[in-house]
């Protein structure tokens, strides 16, 4: 499959940027935030990124949201350090070293871990320069999931009202805010929103400016699944680079090098052709250090070192043998002396000596003497042999023949070199490789390249064909058709005249054309449709929410005040043009924690804030 040769064109080689986020400064709120009326804070709470900023009234609609950071936090490295505490978002810098310690408050697109959500909110408020004492004195516009579970909204309201003491809050759906921002006349018209985010993709029909929630559909695939798919594809193709194929780099490939094919099958046919492949493959260059280059050049040095070690070992062994020989010799001499005592007939001294030596009879003495003398002989032999080997080693300096061959006769040497065996087994394969000096430079760079060919279209294709990843859900096209079929024909006609694409995962080149093609396939012959991509699919939700907040500052029918929260419970919210549909179901209020002391270190309390019951 990797048909590209080493000497291919140097084009299409891209380095990884490996972006590292700079920590956000603690911004001053600025005079605009301390206006006569408390200025609303707009927070687009996304599972990928959280975007926060002030909704400043006045002539200037305002720049981008002041804060944009990844919605993750992690404790500092090296275990839980008491001082630093968990770091959030951009303060983490590069995400890769902490990949396994990253925690997000989101589970799919719903915030479930409100402690982490609290951290994110702390971070946002702190860096936006909220300085009010005792409470956050600004109304908040917050985005939530489509058909947000009541429990999660209850928890979120509790966090906002009880912990931060905000005066009023409004919940909205990010794609609706984006929709109204792009076409203000949408407030009264109908349309179909296809919104694809990090964790899931929604298809939302809008009728007369209001969300038709019971016909919405959600496909549980988004940018994160595409990144995961791409990562596993590349890891399976390049098992040697497992660690270097990180999720951040995958996101980089998706954002910059991937596109959506207008006709998937046709595009694949194009990729079969080797020329097309050559011209369009993107070779991602992994960073590599040329230290590897250095190590292969010094393999000779390594062999030298090995020989030195061998020699040292042999010398050591020789010395040991000599010492042993000496000891044995002395002992032998003593025994011989004792034997002479016997022969001379000095029985008393002989017996005394025997007792000293711990022996019982002259025969034992004799046998012992024999054993010792044979050992001494053998030792002398081995020393002679070792000396011969040493000389042979010195003479024979060919680096390629494994030195172990010459050590075979001297088994003792081999035994003591067993400690060094792992070292040898690693290095002997290198000995076989010819140490060339010119080729490695090119080989090394090409070895560290990832060839991203059809993966460029395969990874983003999962939202159109979830079967690529094994999901049973239908893709965007089929779900679109399913939704349209639930309406009468005239309503269908109205809806397809205003198809709107939003969300970060919609930013692939070729996405709009593909949606148009899918619509062409499913609509009746020669009917018309209109597809529009958001002007800024990522930030439009925030801009829309800000515009909405400014329009509805005075409107009390859309904000949930603290009083209403206490009366009607956390899951209560008020409908407005960009909100979910309200279903009047009361959730039982969660029992406030009893006086147990949990492990998180929070002290026991009489009642968790708010209504103590």
């Amino acid at each position: 499959m990797a048909a590209a040769s080493v000497a291919g064109p140097a084009a299409n080689v891209f380095p990884f940027r490996d972006f590292r986020a700079a920590p956000d400064p603690v911004l001053e709120a600025g005079p605009v935030a301390h206006g006569p009326l408390p200025v609303p804070l707009v927070l687009d709470n996304g599972s990928f990124q959280a975007r926060a900023g002030w909704a400043c009234p006045g002539p200037d609609p305002g720049p981008e949201p002041r804060l944009q950071f990844r919605a993750v936090c992690a404790r500092g490295r090296g275990g839980a350090r008491g001082g630093a505490g968990p770091q959030v978002g951009n303060a983490l810098g590069s995400l890769e070293p902490l990949r396994w310690m990253l925690r997000s408050p989101f589970d799919r697109n719903v915030p479930v871990n409100l402690e982490l959500q609290e951290l994110l909110l702390d971070y946002s408020f702190q860096h936006l320069g909220v300085s009010s004492q005792g409470c956050v004195d600004h109304p908040i516009v917050l985005t939530e999931a489509v058909c947000n579970p009541l429990y999660s909204r209850q928890m979120m309201s509790e966090l906002l009202f009880e912990c931060y003491g905000i005066p009023k809050v409004a919940y909205g759906i990010d794609s609706l805010f984006s929709f109204y921002h792009n076409k203000p006349k949408n407030l009264t018209s109908s349309g179909l929103i296809i919104s694809s985010g990090y964790q899931c993709t929604h298809i939302l029909p809008i009728l007369e400016g209001r969300l038709d929630a019971k016909n919405c559909k959600r496909i549980n695939l988004g940018g994160s699944q595409a990144a995961g798919y791409l990562q596993r594809l590349l890891q399976l193709k390049y098992p040697g680079h497992l660690a270097a194929i990180t999720l951040s780099r995958m996101e980089e490939i998706l954002h910059e090098h991937s596109y959506i094919a207008e006709d998937y099958v046709e595009e694949l046919q194009k990729w079969r052709c080797p020329d097309y492949y050559e011209n369009n493959v993107h070779k991602m260059q992994l960073p590599f250090s040329s230290k590897l280059l250095g190590s292969t050049l010094t393999s000779e040095e390594k062999q030298e070192r090995r020989q030195q070690q061998l020699r040292r070992l042999q010398e050591l062994n020789a010395r040991r043998r000599e010492e042993k020989l000496q000891l044995d010799q002395e002992r032998l001499d003593r025994l011989l002396y004792v034997q002479e005592l016997l022969e001379d007939g000095q029985m008393d001294q002989f017996h005394k000596a025997l007792i000293e030596l711990n022996m019982d009879s002259p025969e034992e003495l004799q046998s012992y003497i024999q054993k010792l003398s044979s050992a001494v002989e053998q030792a002398k032999q081995k020393i002679l042999q070792a000396e011969v080997n040493l000389e042979v080693d010195v003479v024979d300096s060919k680096p390629e023949t494994p030195d172990l061959e010459q050590l075979e006769p001297s088994l003792e040497d081999v035994e003591s070199i067993n400690d060094f065996e792992p070292l040898f087994s690693e290095e002997t394969p290198e000995v076989e490789k010819p140490v060339t000096t010119v080729q490695p430079v090119f080989n090394l760079a090409a070895y560290h390249q990832l060839f991203v060919g059809t993966e460029r279209i395969r990874a983003p294709e999962i939202i159109f064909q979830p079967s690529l990843i094994g999901e049973e859900q239908a893709g965007i096209a089929e779900t679109l058709q399913y939704i349209l079929d639930r309406y009468p024909k005239d309503v269908q006609e109205m809806l397809v005249q205003n198809v709107f694409l939003t969300g970060g995962n919609m930013m692939y080149p070729g996405m709009k054309v593909r949606i148009e093609k899918e619509l062409l396939e499913m609509r009746p012959f020669q009917s018309s449709f209109q597809v529009q991509l958001a002007s800024n699919p990522v930030l439009d939700a925030w801009y829309g929410a800000r515009d909405w907040a400014l329009d509805h500052l005075e409107d009390s029918e859309v904000w949930i005040t603290r009083k209403e929260y206490e009366e009607k419970g956390g899951e209560y919210f008020k409908e407005h043009c960009a909100s979910n549909i309200y279903v009047p179901i009361r959730l039982p209020k969660q029992a406030s924690r009893s006086s147990e002391a949990p492990a998180s270190g929070k002290g026991s309390g009489a009642s968790g804030g708010g209504a103590g019951e």
Partner: protein
């Protein structure tokens, strides 16, 4: 003992400037706040973690929804009715053939020889990618 959040110290301090790096009380928060969700309804030593989405949805199903009410699980997209196209595991091209030994799909002869030379963990990896791993070992 007052209930405290993680990074709070003594609640009587409400200074805006950071006192120490260790525990800086954030002035706009209520330092006595305790999440009621943490620990869930059956509070106590056992149930200290947050509910994950599956648990939340399971609890939501039990609520008295009407037939036409939209809620989180009712807007899940339906499964696909059209038969899925088969693509090669290795290259992504349209796959007409399947290797009977490893169940991987391939489209050309070169891919077949590549597949036959793969180590078993890579084969399992490709199958897992498609959620086609078999239960029988």
């Amino acid at each position: 003992m007052e209930a405290m959040s993680e990074n709070k110290m003594v609640p009587s301090d409400f200074s805006t400037g950071p006192m120490e790096k260790a525990a800086k009380p954030l002035p706009f928060k209520d330092p006595n706040f305790v999440h009621s969700g943490h620990g869930g309804a059956v509070a106590g030593k056992k149930n200290r973690t947050w509910k994950n989405l599956k648990q939340i949805l399971a609890a939501e199903r039990a609520l008295p929804w009407q037939l036409n009410d939209p809620n989180y699980f009712s807007i899940d997209a339906p499964p696909s009715f059209k038969p899925a196209k088969k693509y090669s595991d290795v290259s992504g091209l349209l796959a007409n053939y399947t290797d009977p030994q490893s169940k991987l799909r391939f489209s050309t002869i070169e891919e077949f020889s590549y597949i036959r030379r793969l180590p078993s963990d890579v084969v399992t990896g490709y199958l897992a990618l498609r959620k086609a791993t078999s239960i029988v070992p």
